[in-house]
């Protein structure tokens, strides 16, 4: 019962946050980069709901647009990671043998790498002076390309079980090729697993982006994201004087906890 309540509340909060990101223009009429030079570090008011930052930019607008960047691109990265896991894991489980051992060995190797070290090494490979939009794409594509191994192990195990099933035997007997088996039989049958892995990856990518951006290696200014909005937390004096600047952190924590609660309640037996 409690699980169901938690789940309902989590879905509602996520729906509200996602709606804010999709219709950001309806919630704020200020662009995220517009500067009010006469009003730096302003306190919350009816004009600027969360005040302004040290460059005079409206903090509420930056939080709304930053939420859009973090919340729309983390699912995109999760989709990429899940797609890679689906194809490679499905193929490994379907074919078995040396191909399966090779793919699993690669996944194990990637899983044992310290993700943040590899991410910043790959990020540093790109020129530093790239445009903010390109920095967003680079950050989330890198996350997607490195985030598939744990999903792959689950997909591979499920696909291996499917290999022995009657309908696969029938499909083979009717002359399906391996590619047809993969895309017409394995992938459609494993859809619930892909969905679970997709949901698991989203909070992970949100948190990794936040850490990368806080270190100055993720989404570049002036484009906001939860991570680079949190860079302001480094100034403890300003934070204690303006506690409303912790709103991005609060939003991030609440969103990640909502994802966790949804996942946890879906794992519980009915």
């Amino acid at each position: 019962m409690i699980q169901r309540v938690f789940r309902g509340v989590s879905w509602s909060i996520l729906a509200i946050v996602f709606a804010c990101t999709l219709f950001a223009e309806g919630f704020t009429h200020y662009p995220y980069a517009r500067q009010f030079r006469e009003l730096p570090n302003a306190a919350p008011s009816t004009i600027h709901l969360l005040g302004t930052d040290d460059l005079g930019r409206d903090l509420f607008a930056r939080v709304v647009y930053g939420t859009r960047v973090s919340l729309l691109l983390a699912p995109a990265a999760a989709l990429l990671a899940t797609a890679i896991a689906a194809v490679l894991g499905g193929l490994a489980g379907l074919r078995g043998g040396r191909l399966e051992s090779l793919i699993l060995a690669c996944a194990d190797l990637l899983m044992s790498l310290p993700l943040l070290f590899v991410l910043i090494a790959l990020r540093a490979f790109l020129p530093l002076g790239i445009s903010p939009l390109l920095s967003v794409v680079a950050t989330f594509v890198t996350l997607g390309l490195l985030g598939w191994p744990s999903s792959l192990r689950v997909v591979c195990a499920a696909s291996r079980n499917l290999r022995q099933s009657d309908h696969m035997l029938l499909a083979r007997a009717t002359g399906y090729s391996n590619t047809q088996l993969l895309f017409r039989q394995v992938i459609p049958n494993l859809r619930p697993i892909f969905l679970a892995q997709f949901w698991i990856s989203i909070p992970l990518f949100i948190l990794t982006e936040a850490t990368l951006s806080m270190l100055g290696l993720g989404v570049m200014e002036p484009l906001p994201s939860w991570g680079n909005l949190l860079r302001g937390c480094e100034d403890f004096g300003a934070m204690s004087a303006n506690p409303w600047r912790l709103v991005p952190l609060l939003l991030l924590v609440i969103t990640v906890i909502c994802f966790q609660l949804i996942l946890h309640s879906s794992e519980e037996p009915a």
Binding site: S112, P114, L116, P127, L207, T211, L215, C233, E234
Partner: protein, 287 residues
């Protein structure tokens, strides 16, 4: 025993091959990165063409690719990891200076996380209580939802030691994994049978449940070391702790690829080695 030693030998031979492949990958990244071989001194209009050529050959910009790989790998084998572009010092020397601090921080952090998660996990299993269970879930859920960089900032604010930050990042994941394993093992039919025969809960836990989960928990040592090294970057960078994590961050900000790839290679070889060792010991225990 002999078979196990052969398996362990194979794993470490594989580690050697992986290290070589990793080194070649690092070399390729440095060689093909935008700006390779370019030096701002070349912009000096007072320099003659010979001087510019000398600067370019100093960076190896004119050599062929196979020659470049041979030079890079032979340098690595001799312990020469190149020179940091940003700090203008040998990379090996920088790593040698910074590695002990990171090893200490990561080691103590992991120890604290393992002790904390094991005690809490055992308490939650031995004394099943909805309040304790929900409190532990809420605490770990909240800690998982905090980015490592925010934990680092809190530690700077509290002036707390960095190793506790690493412990705080790894603890919730370790607790949840251990708790799941223990819960699954405790709901097995053998535990139920032991309970019906009047065996005490302590005996079931320590004589039957823990030996069953020993191998998968040991395999987690490798994964947790990789998590701890990952957490060391934001924690050391934001707490101004002069370890390898801070060095990697500075190298990334200054686009010092020779330094960054060498650090990544060293940490990767270390974490993959720990993973292999933990797997091998886990297999030995379970066989």
């Amino acid at each position: 025993m002999f078979t196990w030693i052969v398996k362990l030998g194979r794993k470490f031979a594989m580690l050697g091959v992986l290290a070589l492949l990793g080194a070649l990958l690092c070399a390729t990244m440095i060689r093909f990165a935008p700006g390779y071989g370019a030096d701002e001194r070349e912009l000096d209009s007072r320099l003659s063409q010979e001087s510019r050529d000398a600067i370019r050959s100093e960076y190896g910009a004119t050599e062929t690719l196979p020659h470049y790989y041979r030079r890079y790998v032979s340098g690595l084998l001799r312990g020469n990891l190149g020179t940091s572009v940003f700090l203008q010092r040998p990379v090996a020397q920088l790593l040698w200076e910074r590695a002990p601090l990171t090893a200490r921080t990561v080691g103590f952090g992991l120890l604290a996380a393992w002790i904390g998660s094991s005690i809490l996990g055992l308490l939650a299993i031995r004394f099943p209580n909805a309040m304790l269970n929900y409190s532990a879930m809420a605490l770990t859920g909240f800690l998982i939802a905090l980015p490592a960089a925010v934990i680092a900032l809190l530690f700077v604010f509290w002036r707390a030691p960095v190793f506790l930050g690493i412990a705080l990042v790894t603890f919730p994941k370790l607790y949840r994994y251990q708790h799941n394993l223990l819960t699954q093992a405790q709901s097995q039919p053998f535990a139920f049978a032991a309970r019906t025969r009047g065996v005490s809960e302590n005996r079931i836990l320590f004589r039957h449940v823990i030996p069953l989960v020993w191998a998968p928990v040991l395999a987690l040592v490798g994964v947790s070391s990789s998590m701890a090294f990952g957490a060391a970057i934001p924690l050391e960078a934001l707490s101004d702790s002069p370890g390898m994590g801070q060095l990697a961050w500075q190298a990334a900000l200054n686009r010092d690829l020779p330094l960054l790839t060498s650090i990544t290679l060293c940490v990767t070889v270390l974490t993959v080695g720990v993973n292999f060792l933990a797997d091998a010991i886990g297999q030995r225990k379970s066989s």
